[in-house]
Symmetry: C2
Subunit: 201 residues, 2 copies
């Protein structure tokens, strides 16, 4: 197995164990054993348990930013772009539930200042992607322009992040149904009256 | 000073110290000293640091439930009631920022099962207050009836809870301005077309 494949295997086993038993109660030895390594050999891949945690959060944030960037910077019409971003982010969260929980509940003190700054920068980029999209909505005349963009972004982020607490893949509603409600709420909440007539027509 | 007054003093000093230095880095001795007690005397009021934490979370949840209950069960017209609930909860969160953070980030494992159940029940009551309100909105014909009530409640709760991360009393926008945006978003998002015309008229 290639070095990078083993690294990926360690990361997926780690996120599984952290989700099952919490980060604090999972030992490096357990992670090593679950991928068929001695504890000492695992240190060829990661310096420490914190190092694994950092990598997982870094991965999930980078993936979210990269995905959104492609759509936000695309040539799609605005409403199509907005719907696409909502869907993309919803599926991203649901496909990465373990890593997203680690991100939302991380204790930043466990990382050094360089790593804290790196994660902070990714989080800011994610916020900025949503703000750029909302700004495009207001400039293009799709969204009413009297609503403060950072607050709108926080509402959207809060709505998505809170899913960590209640969403289950085995739950009563499918992701498509949840997405449909989010779209109705947000579009009705932000579209200008003219746009609403057009969307319904 | 009466026993209950001293208890209140301990609780407010504890929340101040937890917010400043985190719960884990605050010792019972520090809490005792900040209210002019010996560590041993503080145990006349609270059994442990966990006991103080529990009391603070219990207080903030009970207060939220009681406040909302009064308005949700009142005879106000629906839209007025809805706006009143949003305002009340927003001010509740902003007046209790320290306790709300403790609630949102509590490690439930520190409490025994009776206390965990007690907190869970209060959280459920809070969710139920919002759901009862949303149901009234749909039944009275104010809100469109095709949106799932638990999901709407999670959107509202998520929007409010996320403020813990970004809202500051010294921030760019006042609470009134934030409330205004929340009302526009939620009412436009949920009102039926007929109601919208009436509200704007």
């Amino acid at each position: 197995m290639r070095h990078s494949d083993k690294e990926q295997q360690i990361l997926s086993e780690a996120v599984r164990l952290f989700s099952k038993n919490t980060y604090y109660k999972t030992s490096v030895r357990e992670i090593a054993e679950s991928v068929g390594l001695q504890k000492q050999s695992l240190y060829h891949y990661f310096r420490s348990k914190e190092d694994i945690y950092f990598k997982l959060v870094h991965m999930v944030l980078t993936e979210a930013v990269d995905k959104l960037k492609t759509v936000v910077n695309s040539n799609l019409g605005f409403i199509e772009k907005f719907n696409h971003v909502l869907a993309l982010h919803l599926y991203h969260l649901s496909n990465n539930r373990g890593k997203v929980s680690l991100q939302l509940f991380m204790n930043r003190d466990m990382f050094d200042s360089t790593r804290r700054a790196e994660l902070r920068s990714l989080e800011k980029q994610l916020d900025q992607m949503f703000r750029q999209l909302l700004r495009e909505g207001q400039i293009s005349g799709s969204f009413r322009s009297d609503l403060d963009i950072p607050v709108l972004q926080y509402v959207i982020t809060g709505m998505f992040n809170y899913m960590e607490r209640w969403y289950s893949p085995n739950g009563r509603l499918s992701l498509e149904q949840i997405l449909h409600i989010y779209k109705i709420l947000l579009l009705n909440g932000m579209l200008t009256p003219e746009q609403k007539t057009r969307e319904q027509g």
